[in-house]
Structure formats: C-alpha cells, structure tokens
Symmetry: D2
C-alpha cells in the first residue's frame, strides 16, 4: 500500500472509531458492565496506546510518552510492555475525560500520519501499523457489543441507534443441507494481504464429507427448542453447560425478555418485539451445542466451515449496513456465511501445525489465549466488512453470550 | 419553623447537594466504586425521590410521578414502596444523564416549595419534610466519602478540591485522660427539634466511672502501632478482625500508601504526605479495636461517649470549613468530640429500650439495620454542622473503612 | 473441691465425652459437615490437647508432648500457643485413628489424675483444670450438634439414639406474659464456684420494666408465622436477615422437611413427624427476630433474661434426660428458662463494664469473639445440667442455625 | 470371551478394587478431599451401582434394587438414570459403612456371576459388562489418585504403601528427538476388543512431520525451569494459566514441598526426597505448556502421540509393579509411552469425525464432557496394564493436578 493510501486508510479507520461514540454521552463512554467488557472511552484510548507503543515508540528517536500514566492505564494485557491497570476497574477511570482521550488520539494520530507522510516507516513498522488498524477494527466491534451489554442493564432501555428497526414480515427460505466433499484441503490464510498470525501457517488438513445448513438458525426455530423443554433436559447439554445453565437459572438467550405475554429482544435500537424470522443471536457455545443435539445435528468444525466458506463470496450483512442487528435472509442463494452473527464452531481454539508465536510484545496478541476458548467464524452485523475473510478466527469462552454469536448446523451425510 | 424559614432551609440544603458536585465531571458523578458506595448522580436523584415519594405523593391529590421508572431506579431499600434497582449496578445507570437528574430535582423542588408556600403541609408532612432534609444531609456526607473512594482507584490521583492543604507543623497537645463519674444518666435525644427515631426514647441508663482520651489518635500514634508489629500480632485482634486482616493482607489504614520511601495519604486534595499530627482516619472497627488493645485501653461505649459529649459544646471541624480532611487540634481545651472523624464506639447498633419502629415505609429508615453494625459518634469533617448533636447515632459494619472513621481511647479509672 | 472429688469429677466428665461417641462408627467420628462444625474425634482430641497444653505442660518439669504433631493438629484457635491446622480441613484427618485418639486421651488422663492424686497442682493449675472441664462440657454439646448436622446430609436418615421419641399428645399451656419490675440490678456471676470470664465482673445495670413470655415458642406457633407469609415479607426482617433469607432461598427452620404432604423434622432420633406442641429449634437470630416482629413483640435483652432467670430454679430439660430433643412443657408452672433450647437474646456479645481479657493463651478463650455475635441464654436439651447457670453467656453469629436455638418473646408492659 | 473366562476376569477385577483398600482404615475410605475426588468407599459402591443398574436391572425379570437409596447415593452423573447425591458431599456419607458396601458388592457380584454362569447375558449385556469392567479399572486408578490427594493434607504424612521406595542413583539417558513422518494416518481404535466410544470411529487424519522427545521430562529438568524463574515470567504462560498461577500463588508441582533446605515429594510411600532423575508428575496443563514454551518446544497433539505410540510396544511401568510412583527410565530403548505418567497433549477433548453418542444412559459416559478438557495419553504408574492402549483418550481440565500427569516435548523438525 502506498503512503497516501495508508494515510487515508489510517484516517478513515481511526475516525470510524470516534464516530461510533457519537450517539453516546460521556457517562455512556465511561461505564463498564462486567470485567469482560470495556468502556467505550477505554477502547478509544487503548487502541491509541497500541499505535503509540508499537509504532511511535520504536520509530521516534526522542520518543516521549504522551502521558506516562497512560502506559499502564491503557495497556490491556501486554506483560511484555509492563503492568496493567486492573481490568475489572476500567469503569472507575472517570479521568482522563472523553475530551482528554480525544486529545490523546489527535496527538498520536498526527505523529503517526507524519511518519507515514515522511515515509519514515520500515517494513516492520508498516506491518505493525497494519496490525494496529486491524486491532482497531476489532475494538470497533467490541465497543458496540459492550455498549449493548451496558445498556441492557438500564430499565430505561436506552437506544443507541434510533432509526426504525423493522421487524421482518417474510420468513426466510427453508433450511436445506448443502453437501461438501472431503479430502485433503488447504486451511489458513492464502493471500498476500494482512492476516492475524493465528490464521497461519497455511497447511494441509484432511476433511471427511460433511453437510452444512443453508442458513443460520432463526429465533423462531430456537423458540421451538425452548418450548420443547430444551432448557430443562440435561441429556441435551454438555455436562459443564448444564451446570452453567443451572447455576444461572437460564431459560433463554441473553437479550430476550418476556413481557406482557410476548417475547421481546433488547437491541441497539432498544427493546423490540422478537422477530421470529431473523437469526438467533447472543447464545453461548453451551446453548448452541444443546440446540444442535436437540436437532440431531452438530456444530461445524472450523475446518469444515472454512473449507465451505471459500466457495462463497465474502459478502453479507456487516457493520456497514449500520443496522447493528442480524436480519432475515430473503434469498435462497444467500447463505449468511459472512455477517449477521458469528457462528460457533465445535473447535477449540488451538495453534495450527507449525504456528509460531511472534517475537516481542505483539506475540502476546493471539497465542496466549489458546486454551479453553472456542472458535467463531464469519463475522457479524457489527464487524467491518474490510475486516473479515474466510480464514478469520474469532474465539471466546464457552459461556460468552454478549458477542453477536449464532448457530449453523452441520452433520455427516446420511 | 415558619413557612418562609422552611422554604429557605429547604432551598439551602438542596442547593448545597448540587454545589458539592460542581468540581465533578458527568463521568465522576456516574461511576460506582463498590456496592456500598453510590454514584454522586444517584445521591442527587435518590434524595429527590425521597421528597417525591414521602412528601409530594401523600400531599398532592392528582399526584403523578415525574417518571415512573425513577420510582424503582432511585428507591434505595424501601421494600414498603416497591422494588429496587440492584444496588451493585447503580454505576451502570448512565441514563438518566446528570442534566436530566438536575431537571428532576428542579421540578420536585418547585412542587415542594409550592406546598410550603401554600401552607399545604400538615404536621405529618412537615415532619417528613424535616426527615427528608436530614436524609439529604446524610447523603451530602456520603457523596463526599463515595467520591473519595472512587478517586482513590485512579492512578492519576484526581483532586476534588484543589485548594492547598497545608500539612501541620505543630504537634497536638499530649493526650490526657478526662474522668467522668458514673451513675444513672439520661441517654437519647432530649430536645424539641428534629432527631432520628433511633435516638429515642430518652431513657435512663447506668454508667460506671470511666475515662476518655482528651483527643483523637493521630497518624503518628497509629504509625507507632504499625511499627510495633500491630498488623502482625493476632493477639491484638478480634478473631474475626484477624481473619479479615489476613484475607485482605492489610497493613495500614485505607488511604495510606508507601511511595519512594515515605508515607502518603490520599485525600480529597489528592495525594499528600502523611501528616503525623492530624487524626488517623479511615480505619475499620477491627483496626480501631486492635489499636486500643495495643494501647491497653478500649473503645468507649456509645453511652459513655454521649454522656461525656453533653459536657462539651457542639462545635468542631465540620463540613463548613470546606477542608474535607481532619486537622490537628491545636488547643488543649479542644477535645474533638464533634467533627474531624467519626469515633468508633464498642457498642453494637441496637434499639433503645422501648424503641418502636415507625409505621409505613419510613419505618425502614433505621430499625432494620440493627444487627452486625457498630455505632460511631460525633460527626466528621464532611458532616454538616447543623446535622450533628450529642445523641446522634451513626452506624457501619465492623469492616467499613471508607467513612471518615477514627479512634478515641477509653478506660476504667485506674 | 478436695482432690478425690476433683479426681472423680475429672474422670466422670472425661468419660462422658467418650460415651457420647458410642453410637458412632469411626467414619461418623471423622467427617466434618461444614467449617463451623468439627468431627467427633477432633472434639475428643482437642479437649485432651487443652489439658495437655494448659495443665500438664506448665506442671511437669520434663514435659514432653505426647505427639509433637498433635500440638498443631488439635489447637483450635490459640495463636498464643502456635499455628493451627486449617479449620475447614479437620474432616480430612483420617489419621490419627479413633483408637489412637482414645490412647492419647488415656495417657493424658493418667498424667492429670496423677497430678491431682499427688496434690501437685497449685491454685492456678486447679483453675485451669476447672476451665478445662467446663471447656470439655461445651464440646460435649458441640459434638452432639455437629453429629446432628452431619447426619442431616445423609438421605439414609441415620439415627443417633434409637430409643423411641414420642410425639406429644397434649398442647403446652397457653403462652402468657410474666411481668418484671426494672431498676438497678446486679448482672453477672455472683458466686464462688466456676464461671467463665465473660460473666464477670458482677456489675450494676439499669433495667426498665419488661415482660417475658411464659414459655418458648412452639413449632405450631412458628408454622403460623410461615403460613402467614413470614418468609415472604421483607418488612418483618432485618435487612441483613432478608438478604440472607433470599440468598439461601430459605422457607423453614433448618431441620424441617416437607414430605408426602406433611412436615417432618430431622432429630437425633432420625426423621420424625413435626411435633406442633414442642419448642421450635434450630432457627437463626434473623428468623427469631422476624418471628418476634410478626408477633408484635421482640427478643429479650440478655440483661432482662438474666434478671428474670434468677427468679427461677435452675432446672429443666437438659442433656441428662438423654432425649437430645426439646420437649413440650406440660406444666404451667414450668417456664423453660433452662434447657430445651438456647434462647436468642437481642444483645450483641460484648464485654461487661470492667471486663479484662485473661493473661496468656487462655485469654483467647472468650474475649476475641466479642464482635458480630449474639448472646443466647439458658442451655438446651444437649447441655449438661452442671454446666448451666443464669449468668451463662453463649454466643453465635446471627446466621447460625445448627445449634439448639429457639425463641422466647419479650415486650414492654402495655 | 467364553463364560468361564469372563467369570474369572470379572472376579479378578472386582477383587482388585477391594484389595486396593486393604491398607486403608474405614475413615480413610470415607473422607473426600475436594469435589473432584471421591472417597474410596464411594468408588467401591459406585462401580457396583454401575453393574446393578446397567447389567442386572435389564437382565433380571423381577429386579429389585439392593437398596433403593443407593440408586441415588451412588449414581455419579447419569441424569438418564435419575437424581444424584450432590458430589461435593460424598465425604459426608459415613453410612452405609464400609462393611455394608462390601456386602452390597458381594450380593451384586453373586448375581452377576450367576448370570454369566447361566449364560443369561445377551450380546448387549455382555458389552455393558465389559464396559463395567473397564469403568471399574478407571475407578481403581482414581481411588489411588484420590487417596494420595487426601493423605497429602495430613501433616502426619500417611503412608499408603510402606515398602521402601528407593530414590534413583542413575540418571536417565539424555533426551533426544525421535522423528516421525507425516501424511495420512488412521487414528482411533483399530481392533476387535473393547474400546471406549470416544476412540471411534477409526478415521483418517493428516499429519505433518514432527518430532517427539525420547522420554518424559524429569524432576531435575523441571527444577531447572523453576530456578530459571519459570513461575515468575508471564510471557511463558497461557493467559488463563498465568491467572491461575497468580490466584493460587503456585511455585511448584502439586506434591513438592521445600523443607529444611531441600525439596521433598509426597507420594503413596509418604514424604520422600525429590528424585531428580524420575519423571515430573502432578503438573497441570498450564504448567506443562509453560514448561514447553520455556524449552522452545510444545506439547504433542493427541494425533501425533497416537501415531508415534503405535510404533512402540504397549509396555511400561504400570500399576502391576505395585510401586505407584513414576520411576527413572534406565534404558535408552525405552521411551515411556505407556505408564509412569499420563502425558498432556495440546489437544482439546473433542469428538472424532462421525462420533455418535450412545443411546441411553451410558451415552452419558463420554460425550457430555467434550468441552474445556484436554486429552492425556499413555497411562501412568497407577493404570492397570490391561486397561491401556495407544488409542486410549483420558481427559481432564487444564488446571487438574492430582492425576499422575507429566510432560513429553514435541516440535516440528528443524
């Protein structure tokens, strides 16, 4: 990418993050609803810290941190860089203010753009810049999931986006099975643009024949499972999932609520009647797995998913639509591989054969999370479209529900 | 009190609460540092809810709540009124905004002042009005303790009051013992102005002869205890206190910190060098008790304290000084009974003989907390001076440290 | 007490402890059902440790501990003596075996009896011996309460005592109010036999006129409270009690169970139909307090209780009956002050005026527990009769239910 | 297998379980050291329950349970069979006694042997019988691991096996790398004897070239990691592993202890000096992974391990040696694939392609645990030799340390 393109791309992605906070008040940007979520302001500051630490510091001879305290406050989990402010307390950082964080962003942005414009970045720094932009896009998505989670605690049902969200009138096409032939297949990123280290190396893997559902599971279909006693029958659940369901007395997906004799769903448009035709979203791995067992099917492996996805165009209902909520597929030729909801796979997040953790602090980016997490694929309605690809591996613990996670069925051919 | 005085008093106390938030940003007013503390914005809204619920609702024929949702959001613990928003989540209420809460205050204030001006309040409503104003003053104090607690989590050491806090140059007069004769004594509120129900009935109690220290324990004296191994010797501690100290690995009062070879203390003026001459503050009952055992003394009972305090003028270093931090007593005739720090007594918070819980929801004000709490007396540097009196009973659990709580020694005459 | 009487008393109390374990298997004696309870074997060993540490060690010139490891294993909470084996793990001490513990008892007993017979104990050691015997009696009671708690977890409903327990046919006399005049009264132990240090000093206290119920509350009366929604109405509960009730979803006293359309109670005789006429037992302070509020009465203070109890003979249904379960009072002249159930008082456990903690390790016996505990009076059906007296102060936390704790009402005269 | 062989095999395996408890007292057999471990007596009863429920009940026309209560008491986790006694409370089941459990075993054994002798079992029941015997062998191993865990809490350092355990004098041969060629390989059980359902179906998998260490990591090698700061450097750990290590303040493998200036290890032979030459054991997945990162290697995948193991004889230091502790390999031709310690693999426990959960309650045997567990291979010094095979998949959570788990390195060829 030439410098002026990089300049533009940097500016556009960085501006996008700030734009996402426009509907929010300073308080909205400061609060933290649980340890796993971060305040919007913290997302803005941390992504800036990333560029300051990994691009500016190694590039500037007389580098001085913008604010020494920020080095620790906005370090997420990079032990190689230094200590970190305790994660569960991020919501207590009422200072620096939003304004101060925006000033921090401006200063760092100016320095980064100067480096670009002066052509002062070597290949390694350019790679880190690209990593930083992809990192920023991840936080754009997290910012939206975290705000949704925060707002869901407020009985006033705050609305992030007040454009009307129309509930679908037409059902999606019936679910059918799409068959894929197995054999040796190449898995991993196979291109010359950016990918995360966990998508590499490109490697051979052996696949058995398999089938995938033609679309995501809908709210209506999930409700059938619930009404058939899905949340009461331990035989449908992983043992650990059943313990989790019992401990929290769960009976429905995260944002559903029963009110005045009907189901509603909390969304970034506020509380809306549950749309039976749109994809079910905000379910845990445990719930997704129980649903598949009830359906006499299973979740796809990430290898199956990637192999199939490579037959399909990388297009779908992503963040650019500005809807920030999954929508009903209307076209039987559209299979929802990309966008709408992340799709749980049955695959534990683990290194590809020959995977090497990167050297230095950015080596902490991915590798150290490869235990007790499950891979999700395909992006969601809050994922930027330039951020997703067939080999992209997202990962969350089996009990995570606040991400836009949904369900696609898989099975062996009969 | 005539109507115009009441009008003025109402306005002045209500304005004072808002004034206390002037140094704060919207984020500062929204965050909650622990379950026991509340956001400043919530304090402003809850005290308004109190007047709306207990004064406006029973007084207005066509009463309509300002906002139906606020009835639950800003109810603290009145089961008789209805459900309550979960206390640990108050910091998640980014909406309503500070502006909206101030609007809520204005509307309720206007209604209340109208009722006063129209002379439309009967005796019971006037009593509830007075209760509401005293309630508001309690929350003024809590607002300051809670902000201090919140700020203490921020490595930027935020400053609430940027006026210079001068560290004392002169030691206080030496501690001496003041002797009091026992016998039958009247305990409880003995006047015709306002008091809380827990100060009644006025009743006889038998006291043995006792002695009280002439002033509060200083930071320097407390440091002697620490340096003598006070936090390492279980024989000085209540068993439960020792478990608490071990579990949290505590070695000093709440806001002390050791930095670059010296002790500092976090205050509403930011982080300042520890003043050896000013009173130790922010210690738990357990710590206060351990200190007294090390001193071969004990804490006073609340009866002893009240009996002695009635010999002294109700004056001291209270909130009006605007210092919001205890200061060194300079005058051997000044005994710090009122202001500077709340004084832990060894008395469990329990009903006075013949105490009756009030009828209706305000009956939940005091009585239901009479278990596993300990009485503190005398007010602190964040207590409004019109709010304190010898019979005033404050109470907190034995492990509470975020209140301005300090230590006065007592003993039997030798 | 002369030496031969002391010899006999020692032998009889020590034998009694062992006799209590006769119905138990080695496994029964080893298991621990919760941190607050101890295995029967541990009770036998710890009481022996007490004599070894506080009587033998200071009396024998060439004292050698029976087993060095026991010094720590069977130290309960005496920091002055040394470290303690972690309390929650006592049930993991499958070694030493019961046989080895009995051998330990024999050896220590022989040494103690030798000291007595040789008249080798000075006054201080005799005092510690007496303390040890009273300590042993406390553990006899705990052994029974702890076994009951352990057995209650076993669906086989183990029976400690298989003698038939007959459910009462006749109701108790109706509850009436007994009036007592107040004034200055002496409180504390006023005799020349043994008492615990917490019963001293004898001191003056001022009492207001009061009334006490003529007998304990029965199961039937408590059931009325339950059926009137007592466990569902927060206005009847202390705030902390209500939280406790909610957190544990409690709806009845500890050992009650609803089965096949009727109430049963687990006892040391196994599971028996709930006897409506016998005293309710195994309720917490919170439950006792809620019951009194529902009854428009209150719990007595410990001062009131002691003052009243001194008018009554120290007799009642105590451990010697061998029934180990409260029974219905049949005689309107019998008021159940002693025996049947411990009676919760509203008094927090605190030092009497002038109380001094004893010197040395036995000073840890009582004083260090004087926080967040409530006083119970009068002994129960598992208390040895030679162990109880009007001034006796038992104490447990407000949520304790596994002791034989019941309810007596008090109130001011109308 | 003909009936008389089956009769003999049944008797021999069942007798073996009881023989393992011979060194134990009734108390030893009853206690439970943590939720994940079970009392020895419970193991004996549960394995009997398995035969009663899955073999006798479907085979006997007039089947009556031996004791109705045992149906629930000794059901481990089969929701399809009915309710289960709460797992954390198994140590509270002092009744039934060991004698009663042995009587239960005898009666069930007699019934099972009768069915065998009468040739009354159909193919399905014979399969369940075989499953039951393999299940029994698993519990034999657990019985030993659980007793070791229990004994480790006792400062008396109980000895399960008092035969002398000689600490090795000779170092093992140096570790070398063994190279394996990749390609398509068959994974899973490939025979006509018994295997668990999780070893099926036999399926093709693609392997890259890889290398495995020629033997297990020794205590001495692990100590090098410790002395190089292994437990203090977060960059060596999985993020979740580091949190775990911090939370529990861990600094060494489970049973190591530092005493009088030297390392010791608690074993079934009591506390012995740490043998630097024998394999490190009782490490978690997190510790094993950190060790491999420090070694610039990694853990093998379970596919790599199985592929390699099939080149080696199924022999090693297993339970039959009676040593119950790993020993130093002395022979450079011996590679410790089987026995000594279970070997952590980096593979999450997941279903093989085409895996189908069995119908009915035994379907709960394996499948429902396939989340957040990691596969271990090869058996240990407490695994019966007739129980292990190359395709055998054991699994435990990443923080489990009380199993005999050790470390083998793997890497890509240079």
């Amino acid at each position: 990418m030439d410098n002026s393109s990089l300049h533009l791309r940097y500016q556009s992605i960085r501006d996008r993050s700030v734009a996402l906070t426009h509907p929010l008040s300073p308080e909205d940007c400061c609060a933290q609803s649980m340890m796993e979520a971060s305040p919007a302001k913290w997302h803005l500051a941390h992504t800036t810290w990333f560029f300051e630490t990994f691009v500016l510091e190694p590039s500037e001879k007389r580098f001085k941190p913008y604010n020494r305290a920020y080095r620790e406050l906005f370090n997420s989990y990079y032990n190689g860089v230094g200590d970190q402010y305790p994660r569960p307390n991020r919501g207590l950082l009422t200072r620096p203010s939003m304004e101060e964080v925006l000033a921090y962003r401006s200063v760092v942005d100016q320095c980064v753009l100067d480096l670009i414009d002066k052509d002062a970045l070597d290949a390694k720094q350019r790679a880190l810049m690209t990593l930083g932009l992809n990192h920023e896009q991840q936080h754009q998505e997290l910012l939206l999931t975290d705000i949704k989670h925060l707002f869901s605690f407020n009985p006033l049902d705050p609305v992030y986006d007040d454009s009307q969200h129309s509930v679908g009138q037409n059902p999606p096409p019936p679910m059918t099975w799409m068959s894929y032939s197995g054999g040796l297949t190449k898995i991993g990123y196979d291109g010359d643009e950016f990918c995360f280290d966990n998508e590499l190396p490109l490697h051979l893997s052996y696949l058995h024949d398999y089938q995938l559902a033609s679309r995501l599971i809908t709210n209506g279909e999930y409700l059938d499972f619930m009404e058939d006693g899905g949340y009461e029958n331990p035989l449908l659940w992983l043992a650990e999932g059943w313990d989790w369901r019992q401990r929290h007395a769960l009976t429905h997906p995260l944002y559903w609520c029963w009110k005045d004799g009907a189901w509603f769903e909390f969304t970034l448009h506020g509380l809306i009647p549950l749309d039976m035709f749109s994809p079910v979203v905000h379910v845990s791995y445990y719930e997704a797995d129980a649903y598949t067992r009830w359906s006499e099917a299973r979740l796809p492996t990430e290898i199956e998913w990637e192999h199939a996805a490579k037959y399909h165009p990388v297009e779908g209902h992503l963040a650019e639509s500005g809807l920030f909520h999954p929508r009903t597929v209307q076209d039987s030729g559209s299979h929802q591989f990309f966008g709408d909801t992340w799709e749980w796979t049955q695959s534990s997040y683990s290194p590809y054969p020959g995977y090497r953790i990167g050297i230095g602090a950015v080596g902490e980016y991915n590798g150290k999370f490869m235990v007790n997490q499950y891979v999700l694929r395909g992006g969601s309605c809050v994922t930027p479209s330039s951020h997703i690809r067939p080999s992209y591996r997202n990962f969350f613990p089996a009990d995570a529900r606040w991400q836009f996670s949904g369900i696609r069925l898989a099975k062996m051919p009969d």
